[in-house]
Symmetry: C2
Subunit: 150 residues, 2 copies
Amino acid sequence: MKLSTKSTYGLRAMVNLALKYDEGAISISDIAKKEDISVSYLEQLLNRLRHKGMLESVRGPNGGYVLAKRPKKITVGDIVRVLEGDTAPVYCVTNQARLKRSCRRSTTCVAKGVWEKLADAIDRVLDSVNLEDLARQAGDEVGHEKDISR
Amino acid sequence: MKLSTKSTYGLRAMVNLALKYDEGAISISDIAKKEDISVSYLEQLLNRLRHKGMLESVRGPNGGYVLAKRPKKITVGDIVRVLEGDTAPVYCVTNQARLKRSCRRSTTCVAKGVWEKLADAIDRVLDSVNLEDLARQAGDEVGHEKDISR
DNA sequence: TTTATACTTGACAAGAATAGTAGGGTATGG
DNA sequence: CCATACCCTACTATTCTTGTCAAGTATAAA
Ligand code: FES
Ligand code: FES
């Protein structure tokens, strides 16, 4: 019951992009260096987010990635769903037909109700936090550090 | 972000035991047959639950397993924590020292707040449902089926 | 006492998923 | 034209999952 690094790396990269939303394209290598993530691996993740309409890319020198929407419009759930496949805790209750696996028991299984409640709770949390929230939080922390240092 | 079959099989087995809580020991093979789970595999799961004080065993003919506490006192969270290791969605926020992995970023990582909220939501759901709830539900369904069949 | 039943334990193994690497190709600003 | 940076596919090492297998122990019943 663990999220893969795809989601955790991807979210951290997206927060980086949210923090520099108004500063043009940011390169993969910049993010990879700052977050200490393999460049090649991060390439795959950001590319997947681009294909799903979450990022736009600029090629050539000074190129990089930019959020395709305002940070407010991208939730953690959006990112996790793209990178993880879905957010369901068991295949029985995923709503993505592609991932749904045979579950003959679904009509009688007493556990199903629990998994459905769990899936709802997970989605509620993940969809309630967007990149603007996280960027603001990150900004506040930087400001706080500055205050302490003087 | 999927629970393994350890949790899902284990929970189903425990609900079976809850349904027959007053009928003495139930054998692994009975449960395995009813739930269509490999006997050897289920052995491992139930034994782990026994070591953690969730089950008691009776050896020899007519032996089997019995819940070590009243169904009301065993939650889905208890079972998942034993069989899955813990319920945290990322290693960064597990409260089990054994599983906690190096996360140098934990003091600065902006994502951590999300994972903590998520971990809380997951625990809230899993700890809010106990075996008595599930057994009652299973019993109701049987009754309902009977009503229809006449 | 013998025997069949059923739990106990540890080792092993196939398959899938994860977490990357590697290496080419394409677009573009300078 | 060339250095930069995205684009895309394939491959690999490691770990986790999902079991199987074999040998042993305890006990109720015949
Ligand atoms: S086995 Fe699929 S819902 Fe229980
Ligand atoms: S990397 Fe551990 S909390 Fe973000």
